[in-house]
Symmetry: D2
Subunit: 299 residues, 4 copies
């Protein structure tokens, strides 16, 4: 049996310094913050962590720093997905070497790929190490899961497969994979908006962008949900979804996160690598504070 | 304040006789069955009720029969959506005259329609009677709700608006409409697959096809969910979603429902009007019994 | 061998009187106009002819009037597609009885339908009469043609099949059906925007909305294209596409057509049945004249 | 006025050696082959050239080799699109330095990007050198061109803009951009399937994958089309589209190209970098020969 994971995991943002490079010192501060906040794990160099814009050495440095800074307090799952299978395998081996607790990978990007091509890519990554593998399921432009039973069967046959990060609002598909996969698949919910709903489909935890900012509040809501406090979960969900909608509608998500994390943690994550964030506008401090409080409540 | 609705409502199937006409006697038996089962209301001549394949007089007969058979035991919501606005208005007035409790309408079909055209159509239906209006939201091929706040504002401004039947797996949109609309909108979940999940987004009940067959079990699961019995709701959800997937994958939904309702209620809903059901295959009695039991449990 | 059709065919608008009913006298005037303009046929009670908003008797009256008014000058293809297979068959038989030259049908609407259901619907319509059958191919939300070879094989096996009205911008699919179907399928282009391009994929003619207004000019361009006058066809295409874009962007297509046909033919097609056209705004006469001239050239 | 380009351009495949590295000697042989075949230019390190799987130095070597091997016989357009804006700018400057004739770039990939982000990315690439810029328009998952007039206006305002590679079957959009952009935009058709059709929308040439194999035949067909030989263009188009469909349906495009180019040119392009091609099956020599002849005719 693979190791059991679960709980509330930020998909760690990659902080950048003024020199345009990943800021490893800030990575370490973030890991420490989230460990002290009592969160349950970290998903590193994923989409929120901007993997497509990073070089391989940069990605390796970030994973190594997260493992080091965690010092066993939080399990570290390294997203090792890459454009070439070879790079993904290289990253997986490195993650194992530096002590990451699990690896994860997206499907091949850019070129349309058949299911056979996708699963061969997954297979190579899974077989590269002894670490548990979590496939990163994204439902945009992906027809792989049209037959959920067959999809689940192919997933459970992968070497070292432990579960999925399901980044999808589709809780019907989520539930079917949970039903067909049973205990063979640990399903993390990857769509922040349905953090609490996914519990009803058998999620064992959640991985997401906004847990960088609201990790403690989200963990509390998720635990309330698991404990059957539906009114608490519902009230939280409406506030959380509204906050997300307000941030996304403005088209300046990175500057929101940056300013909000500065206000809340006194940590500066800097600006990402263009084109990401290149047109982000600054927010007023008051609006940032108001949106933070919408989820966290007033202090 | 409009009347408050809620609970578990079958989207009533329209039963057909051997002569190819709607079978009013069977309509009455179904209504009686669902009232005795303790369900909470009926949605009549909707998509499950095959409105596009029925004539106006047929639709009026069915609504009148449902009201008559319910005799006040179950509120009756008449779906009056039609291709022409005039027909929808005619049906709404008839529904009011025969004593239906609410009306509902889909957006215009077949021709792509602007938001202005859609809302004018809704406005005419809402203004046609004093009955509460529930807009039937379908997310296929509909861009209306791209800005959920604006969409909600236009909805709450409709005459006699009371709520929505949200037939969508998107519980982020569901929650945003709930958050923006507050108590002004009563939201029924219309996607059977997420019956329990929708509670977390503030649903006041559910309307759906499969409640014709599994109404009592679904109501019990929904009440368990509301009472915070997450384990019960999760276990039910995985079984229910699996059963739905098994039925839909076979491409013979109508014959499944027909045979299952015969087994369970001794009521024959006949075969629908082609092209619906024209290629449905018969099921084995054993498989039907097995799928029924998957949701209801074994007797 | 079925009769050979071809050339430039308006998808006849259905004109309405002030009483909200189809105006048969105006139908006759339009048919006469298009016959005198030297156009090549008429497609009646299709989408432009607003079939979903018409009753069966209304549709029958319009087809009968078109046949009568044509008096053999223009072949009449009756679109008999309907929500129920039975209604489509009824309309097909009526079309044959009153002397139409061909029938056509869309796939079933509203409910998602399997390929088997769709082809059984087509089969019933084709078998209902001895008239040549033209399937009305729309590519929105239709997965039927994902395998173009298989799709073509099923089409050519239909009773009385003569061809397709291909309402799609996809000239790759168009060409594959032409290649696989060979002389067994006469392909009309149904997307006005690619009237001339479709000649390169083997179209035998075109059926469309805007030919109600610009039939003569479009026929001239189409003949130039067939004669290899590429420069003429290209210059026309850019003007025609620009005119279409200008009309569609305004969201008031019906009032444009109405005012333009009044200016050009002195024929009033009235206003359609709501919800169609319910929010159309009036155009300035000058702008209408300018757009007409963009395609027709200045007199 | 920017330099005028046009004609038939292969989107050069990137050949790989047995060591898994780009094979520069084969790049040179291919360039020489296409120059001697009388083709009109080369599009290098685009999607067919597998840019996302190559390192920056590899891309630079390929571009430099193409320029060198062409020795002025064929203009070289370097695709410099990259995940980061900085890399794209670096590649553009290198292309200028080594003597490429134009640069081209896709929109940012992986992350959904607003129009502002996309155009800032284009702007940086255009401003990086004095070379003419061709935007690589792909219509998958891209809402940028929903308003074609506005899209065209933003395009023509870019620094050094010369045109577009329009990789889309939508010849309505193609024509509108041609009409709005006039002589300010040189439009290459990038969808092989509509090579001839695009002439009617004002294409000045075509860039595509299959011209690596069938460049001479495609150029002859394209010139026949421009000369008004519609029957020749139509017959060719049906054969060419059928050949493409046959190759794509097999899901082994790369091995087809490899074996076909071996048969035809005695040049081995090797196997691409996985995941691309990882599940490609070998073809029979007879089938490859048959498909080659379908387009080229029998020798």
């Amino acid at each position: 049996m693979p190791r059991q994971f679960g709980g509330l995991w930020p998909a760690l943002v990659t902080p950048f310094g003024a020199n345009g490079k990943p800021d490893i010192a800030v990575v370490e501060r973030l890991v420490d913050q989230f460990a002290r906040d009592g969160l349950d794990g970290l998903y590193v160099t994923g989409s929120t962590g901007q993997w497509p814009l990073l070089t391989l050495p940069e990605r390796q440095d970030i994973v190594a720093a997260a493992v080091r800074a965690s010092a066993g307090r939080l399990p570290i799952m390294a997203h090792v997905g890459a454009v070439t299978t070879e790079d993904a395998v290289t990253l997986a081996k490195h993650a194992a070497k530096v002590g990451a607790d699990a690896v994860s990978t997206v499907a091949p990007i850019y070129y349309p790929a058949s299911a056979d091509v996708v699963f061969e890519h997954y297979r190579c990554v899974g077989a590269a190490t002894d670490l548990p593998l979590f496939v990163y399921h994204i439902d945009i432009a992906q027809k792989l899961s049209a037959d959920p039973r067959q999809y689940t069967e192919r997933l459970v046959a992968l070497p070292n497969i432990a579960g999925l990060k399901m980044t999808s609002l589709d809780l019907y598909l989520f539930g079917l994979i949970r039903a067909y996969g049973g205990d063979r698949l640990q399903l993390f919910s990857g769509a922040d908006e349905v953090l609490c709903h996914a519990v009803v489909s058998g999620s064992i935890g959640a991985i997401g962008t906004f847990y960088n900012l609201w990790g403690k509040s989200c963990k509390a809501a998720w635990m309330a949900m698991r404990a059957g406090k539906i009114d608490v979960a519902r009230a939280f969900t409406l506030r959380f979804q509204t906050a997300i909608a307000r941030v996304l509608a403005a088209g300046s998500t990175w500057t929101f996160l940056r300013q909000a994390m500065q206000q809340k943690y006194r940590i500066d994550i800097g600006m990402p690598r263009p084109p990401l964030g290149s047109q982000d506008k600054p927010w007023s401090d008051a609006e940032v504070a108001e949106i933070i409080a919408l989820v966290d409540g007033n202090p």
